[in-house]
Symmetry: C2
Subunit: 321 residues, 2 copies
């Protein structure tokens, strides 16, 4: 991978054709890259092309394409054959979160690519530095963590492992900007990465509020939707503090920090859901319950919302920097 990127000749491999993998493929195709999609298991091929087509149509409806859908699909090759990765300068892994399986995938990738090819993982659970230990030439290994739907969020988290070459990290950050992303750079290999880690702090607190009977689940969700939801797409939290004028924060931190929840254990509400094998909207049993119709309605409306928030966010990229 070199500094100059001409996306039309810059071939990228994606290993793993699950929900996330196909969504990443669509994002890369939309950015003009030829893409080789690898199915690590034959069954991974099932439905992959259908899903990519449907996501492509979604991207088209949202006005993200400059050519027609077929133009992009012609630049995609789905296969089980790792040797097709040969001319890829970057290979993005997004297989299941099991170290042994990922390690095997990295071996196959490095056996079938140039030594200069960057290998990236989409993991959100395993430290980059741990995965890196099992990669041939670990300095070219890096975390590129996407959010769903990958082609329609500006979020991208780039994480440097202990052995990752900083130059590689910088190149990936530049490349990501050509994908219309606003990449975040995580300089150390923080457990839980950046947004997730911050969100876990909220999860801990909100389960505590719920379980203390102070507010209902629905009210906690509403409060977040209508308060932070009314400014978060415009500004992050440090900026929000500046906007509010900062004056009371020191005192509030002094008063509130000692009262925040510091639990280290899984909230009982969550344990109860796990016990009944709740999979949220996937099986209707979750923190809330859903009929099949409700789950569908809810996912459909989210697609519409995606369009809108993506375009809204795109109007305010620079004002904050």
């Amino acid at each position: 991978m070199n500094g100059k990127n001409n996306s039309s000749t810059f071939e990228i491999g994606v290993v793993g054709l699950g929900l996330m993998g196909t969504s990443i493929i669509v994002s890369l195709l939309v950015s003009g890259h030829p893409v080789i999609g690898i199915a690590p298991l034959p069954s991974d091929m099932d439905g992959a092309l259908d899903r990519i087509q449907s996501q492509m149509n979604h991207a088209d409806e949202a006005g993200l394409l400059s050519e027609n859908v077929d133009y992009y699909l012609k630049r995609l090759h789905l296969t089980e054959d790792y040797s097709k990765l040969k001319s890829c300068s970057l290979v993005q892994e997004c297989v299941t979160e099991v170290i042994e399986i990922k390690t095997e995938v990295y071996l196959k990738i490095s056996q079938n690519t140039e030594s200069t090819a960057v290998i990236a993982t989409n993991t959100s659970a395993i430290p980059i530095s741990v995965l890196q230990e099992n990669v041939n030439l670990p300095s070219r290994f890096i975390g590129i963590h996407w959010a769903e739907p990958a082609y329609m969020t500006r979020f991208l988290e780039v994480t440097k492992g202990a052995l990752t070459d900083e130059k590689i990290a910088n190149r990936v950050l530049s490349l990501a900007r050509t994908w219309n992303k606003e990449p975040t750079y995580l300089k150390k290999d923080l457990r839980g990465f950046v947004t997730n880690r911050m969100l876990y702090a909220v999860y801990r607190e909100m389960f505590a509020i719920l379980e203390n009977g102070e507010a209902s689940m629905d009210d906690l969700d509403k409060a977040f939707r209508y308060d932070p939801g009314s400014w978060m797409t415009y500004m992050g939290l440090f900026k929000r503090m500046d906007q509010l004028g900062l004056s009371d924060f020191k005192e509030i931190f002094e008063n509130i920090f000692p009262q925040l929840d510091n639990s280290q254990t899984v909230p009982t509400t969550m344990q109860a859901v796990v016990k009944v094998q709740g999979k949220g909207i996937n099986n209707g049993k979750g923190l809330y319950n859903y009929t099949k119709e409700e789950a569908i309605k809810w996912e459909e409306a989210f697609k519409d919302f995606n369009h809108e928030i993506f375009h809204l966010a795109a109007q305010y990229p620079e004002i904050n920097t």
Copy 2:
């Protein structure tokens, strides 16, 4: 205050004509109420009407009005004379966060209203149960906490103090829905209230990440804008967990909770800002620095963003309930 609300004859008092007070007045006028605005100090009159007019125009541009601006302004009476509150069924206090000052205001309100009038505070710092102790007939005292700009966010936090009559709380919740709000009900008098408390958990964690050198301030803000910012207006955090399918959360909580920051002290970054009397965009010195032009540009763009996110949020009120 009775159960049936006809806003055109339901008079509401607002005591305190600062930024928040005028913004609340605009919200109540837009909802059709006649409003008595009380200036607790003569100087509170300065600029209050100008601000209300300008906020009214903002609401008008955003398409929130069914009549012209003058129609609403005719239903407003600004005065220093508490006796004008006589026929108000609800009086909202939004003066400075000093218990003694608030207590004095409550005394004047109760001396000038019927004993059935509800008295509400906009405090975000003092527990309702504490303020309530000094109110004549404390069962009709309640927290109604607004977010800025009050006429253009759906957020409203209703907090029951230890002595508040639950029937009063339910009436306020019903009333708030006629104001186009999605009120959150806080059943116990939680320090920091709901959203703030959840956000303080994030603040604590993000300052820790920053001060450990793991990610920059700008990157932390970007991550929040583009990840949670891409779904938060659509769904709260419990719903988000359900959407993600819940499967890995138990394990992640077990791993991450013990690693989250549990500090009880003010972060050093914040202490440094307090030391130089940083007031964020108000004086250009904050967590970030701002020229006067940048501060203005940034506030102007936020007004535009407000319109857009308000209307976007309004399209998805029911799907989640």
